[in-house]
Every structure is written in structure tokens, then in C-alpha cells.
């Protein structure tokens, strides 16, 4: 057996692991045996025949995997009738979970949700306070330190207490800050290694599909480190035994992970308005819209409705930032029509959509097999 044949056989055996467990149990050995015989045949036809065979097999694997998984999903509901005691227990669990979802946050917990919003408000006001008088420097400095310590403490508490909902925005803000630092380091490292300057300087023609794709892609990719960090947190909660209740809670209401990501939009004005002179109105409006989204989130139940609220608020807030950016920097005439024209010409509207789409990624947690439904009781409330 040639090296290529051995490699192909090894790769094919590896892809068998990607089939659903039921299919693997029933057909994997048989499928591999047939593949091996066909591979042996192809080997006799020479190198070209072998390469053609491998290409043919490789082409068909994704489709076969998709069909096998689709069949697995269709078979997912249990075929055997569920015994009455089990049905009653499940109904009771569902009632418990519903009651926990409806439970409002206590006063301090509710205030904690808005800590990052307060942090932004204070940090954006510090500059004005400092300019006001010498005493303002001290007041602004103390306030800034206090709210920063508060947000950091909430983020640490979030990790220590296994991600209660009231710590998620603070943790999200810290992760968002880490996102921009990591992104900067990553870009510098990539640029040094691969010289990305020509790629970064690429500016597709206005009103072109390229401009729209470029804007959307850049907006989504700029949140990649945050998505990876959040993914690691969720993965840890699924892996560590002590964090399993957290993982169950996040899957019951995955919009809590969206709430964590939502905090990242608080940093958009600080990143986009550089220099910040004249951006005050846009900063305030962005903050008000995001805070209103968080407030409505807490008053709503059901992950899909909550996601819709977060996405709507984030979209509006991002539109404000983009409009402000054009108004301040890209529009010499500083007219609204020119700003709107710029929004469309450069694909900034797509950029808004691209930056908001990651909020929906936690919905993937809803795609769970039935056997992974929540266990008997949920130790801590989804909202507290």
C-alpha cells in the first residue's frame, strides 16, 4: 500500500468520526471496508487513478455527512412513549424553570447589570470635569477609579460565582476591552509575519458588492477574539463538573450569553470617535439606546424575544455611532444627506449588521439534542 493510499485510508477513517453516533455504530465498519476495497482497486489503476478516486471520495463526503446528520435530527425525538411519572417530573421541571425565568432581579443585582453603562457615562464625563476646574481633576479621577474598580470587581465576581446574570455585562465589558487589545496584538503580529499592509489598505469601490462584503466582514471579524473568549467560557462551563449547572442555565436562556456580548457595543464610541471632540451627543445617544436595550431585556422573558431586543438596540446604537463618525470626520459639508450617502456608499450599513450579527451566535446553544435537556433542578436562577 502506497503512502498516498495509507494517507487516504487514514483520512477516511478520521471522517467516520464526523458521522452521527447511530450511523457510526451501524455502518462505519462496513463503509470503511467498502472504501478500502475500492481504494485497493484504484491503486491498481496507477497514481492518476488513485488521485482521481481520492478526489471523487473527498467531493462526496460533505454531502454524505450532511445527509447522515439530517437523518439523525429527524430521528431525534424519542420513539418510545415516555412513562407518566417521567412526564410529570419533566412538566414540574419546566414549571420550575419558567418560575425562575420570571423571577425579577433584586435591587442590587439589577443595579449591577447597569454598572458598565455607569462606567462609560463616568469615563466620558471625566474629561469635562477635568476641564471644568482643578478640583474636577480630583473628582473625575476618584469617580473614574471607583467605577473601574466596581466593574472589575463585578467581572471577577462573575467568574468566581459561575456567571450569574447580573455580572454578565461587566464581564462582557472586560472581555470586550481584552478583545481590542488582543485584536491589536494579533494584527501587529500578522502584519510582521505576512505583511498585510496591502490587504489592509484595500478599499473596494463605493457602492460595490466588494464595499459591502468588506464592511460586513471587518465588523464581524473585529469581534472574533471576544467570540473566542466567550466560547472558551461556555466550553469551560460545559466541561468542568462544578460549572455544569451554569451550562444548563445558559442553555435554558442562551440570551444571557448575548447579554455578555452586548456590553462590547459600549466601547464602540471610544473606538470610532477619535478624536472625540464634538461626539458628545452621539456618545450619549449610543449609551441611552444600549441602556434602554438592557432595561427592556430584563423586563422580557424568553430568549428569542430578549435576543430581538438586544439586536434592535445594538443596531440602533451602532447606526448612531456610524452616523456620528461620518458627520464628524468623513463629511466635509457636515450635512445629514451627505452623511447618509456616505453610510451607504462605503457599506457602513452592512458594517452595522455585521457587528450586530454575533449577538445571535449564542442561539446555537438552543440546537441541542433532546437527551441534553436540563436536569432535575436548576440551582441558581437564570436572572440572579
Amino acid at each position: 500500500m502506497s503512502l498516498l493510499s495509507r494517507l487516504a485510508a487514514g483520512l477516511f477513517r478520521g471522517t467516520l468520526a464526523l458521522y452521527p453516533p447511530g450511523f457510526r455504530r451501524e455502518y462505519a465498519d462496513e463503509l470503511y471496508a467498502v472504501f478500502s476495497l475500492a481504494l485497493h482497486d484504484a491503486e491498481r489503476r496507477g497514481l492518476i487513478g488513485l488521485i482521481a478516486f481520492c478526489a471523487h471520495e473527498l467531493r462526496d463526503i460533505p454531502g454524505a455527512l450532511w445527509r447522515a446528520h439530517r437523518r439523525g435530527w429527524a430521528d431525534a425525538p424519542p420513539r418510545e412513549p415516555v412513562p407518566a411519572p417521567v412526564r410529570e417530573r419533566r412538566a414540574m421541571q419546566q414549571r420550575n424553570v419558567a418560575a425562575l425565568r420570571a423571577e425579577p432581579l433584586a435591587g442590587w443585582s439589577r443595579a449591577a447589570v447597569f454598572a458598565p453603562f455607569a462606567w462609560i457615562a463616568v469615563i466620558e464625563s471625566v474629561g469635562a470635569l477635568v476641564r471644568l476646574s482643578p478640583a474636577g481633576i480630583a473628582v473625575g479621577g476618584v469617580l473614574g477609579v471607583l467605577v473601574t474598580v466596581g466593574v472589575l470587581a463585578l467581572a471577577v465576581a462573575g467568574l468566581a460565582k459561575r456567571l450569574p446574570a447580573w455580572t454578565l455585562p461587566s464581564l462582557g465589558l472586560v472581555l470586550a476591552a481584552a478583545n481590542w487589545v488582543l485584536l491589536g496584538v494579533l494584527m501587529v503580529a500578522l502584519n510582521l509575519a505576512l505583511n498585510l499592509s496591502p490587504l489592509l489598505a484595500l478599499r473596494p469601490a463605493p457602492y460595490s458588492w466588494g464595499a459591502f462584503a468588506h464592511s460586513g466582514l471587518v465588523a464581524t471579524l473585529s469581534l472574533l477574539p471576544l467570540l473566542v473568549l466567550t466560547g472558551i467560557l461556555v466550553l469551560l462551563s460545559a466541561t468542568l463538573p462544578a460549572w455544569r449547572p451554569t451550562f444548563r442555565r445558559l442553555r435554558q436562556d442562551w440570551s444571557q450569553v448575548s447579554l455578555l456580548l452586548y456590553a462590547s457595543y459600549l466601547l464602540s464610541p471610544a473606538i470610532n470617535f477619535d478624536p472625540p471632540d464634538g461626539a458628545g451627543y452621539f456618545q450619549v445617544l449610543n449609551l441611552v439606546l444600549l441602556a434602554a436595550g438592557a432595561w427592556l431585556y430584563l423586563r422580557t422573558s424568553g430568549p428569542w424575544r430578549r435576543l430581538a431586543i438586544l439586536m434592535a438596540a445594538a443596531t440602533l446604537a451602532q447606526c448612531v455611532v456610524q452616523a456620528g463618525e461620518f458627520r464628524l470626520y468623513a463629511d466635509p459639508a457636515r450635512t445629514l444627506s451627505a452623511a447618509l450617502d456616505g453610510l451607504f456608499a462605503q457599506g457602513q450599513i452592512v458594517s452595522v449588521v455585521g457587528s450586530v450579527l454575533p449577538l445571535a451566535i449564542p442561539a446555537l446553544l438552543a440546537l441541542r439534542p433532546r437527551s441534553m435537556q436540563p436536569a432535575a433542578r436548576v440551582p441558581d436562577s437564570p436572572l440572579a
Binding site: Y27, D29, E30, V34, D60, I61, A64, A68
Partner: protein, 118 residues
């Protein structure tokens, strides 16, 4: 049997050849693979993954069945130990498909006439 009577109809090309191959006798996966290639005169070469997707689907549709073979004892250790056979429903579907194809050819010949009309 009309087309509407079986949801499996009309058959895809690969399904048609797999059923045709099993109409003669039951076969292992690899034998089906080779027979389909020869029946279609080399026009249809199935990959192992596609073949098994089709075999699983056809079992779900009740057109074929999977069964143990004498190779269980290990007389032919290189070959898979399961074989596939056409069910009664599969045979009906195959016959219905052939009738459908014949009808299409007849209509085509009648419409075009000339050398096709012979």
C-alpha cells in the same frame, strides 16, 4: 403503478441503478458499487459515502433491507458482513420507474419521429 402512488418516485439515477443491481440478487456494499458502475456502462461511479447515504435512505423508505450473510463466520474476511436485498416495495418502485421511463421514451419517439421514431 402510477408515479403518485409511491413517494419514492421518480427515482434518481443512482437509486435506479442500485435497485436494479439488487433486483437480480442480494449484494454487499462493494458488489453494489462495482455492479452499478458496470450496469451504467461506467456512466455512474458511486463513492463509498454516497453509496451508504443512498443505502440508508432506501432502507428508511422500505425499498431495500439489510441482512446478515454467510460471511459472518469470516470465510471472506475482507468483505462486509451485511448484504442488501430488494423488498417487495422496492421491486414495485423499480418496475414503476421503468414503466415511467418507457412512457417518456415512447412519447419522445412519437413527437420527434424520424430516426428516433423507429
Amino acid at each position: 403503478m402510477g408515479e403518485g402512488s409511491d413517494p419514492a418516485l421518480p427515482l434518481t439515477e443512482s437509486t435506479f441503478y442500485i435497485l436494479l443491481s439488487l433486483a437480480l440478487d442480494s449484494k454487499h456494499g462493494y458488489a453494489i458499487l462495482k455492479h452499478v458502475e458496470s450496469l451504467s456502462e461506467g456512466q455512474l461511479v458511486l463513492s463509498a459515502s454516497t453509496l451508504y447515504s443512498a443505502l440508508v435512505r432506501l432502507q428508511d423508505q422500505g425499498l431495500i433491507q439489510r441482512m446478515n450473510t454467510d460471511d459472518e463466520a469470516g470465510a471472506n474476511p475482507g468483505l462486509p458482513r451485511k448484504a442488501y436485498a430488494l423488498t417487495e416495495r422496492g421491486r414495485h418502485a423499480l418496475e414503476a420507474e421503468m414503466a415511467r421511463l418507457r412512457r417518456q421514451v415512447r412519447v419522445g419517439q412519437r413527437s420527434l419521429g424520424g430516426e428516433f421514431g423507429r
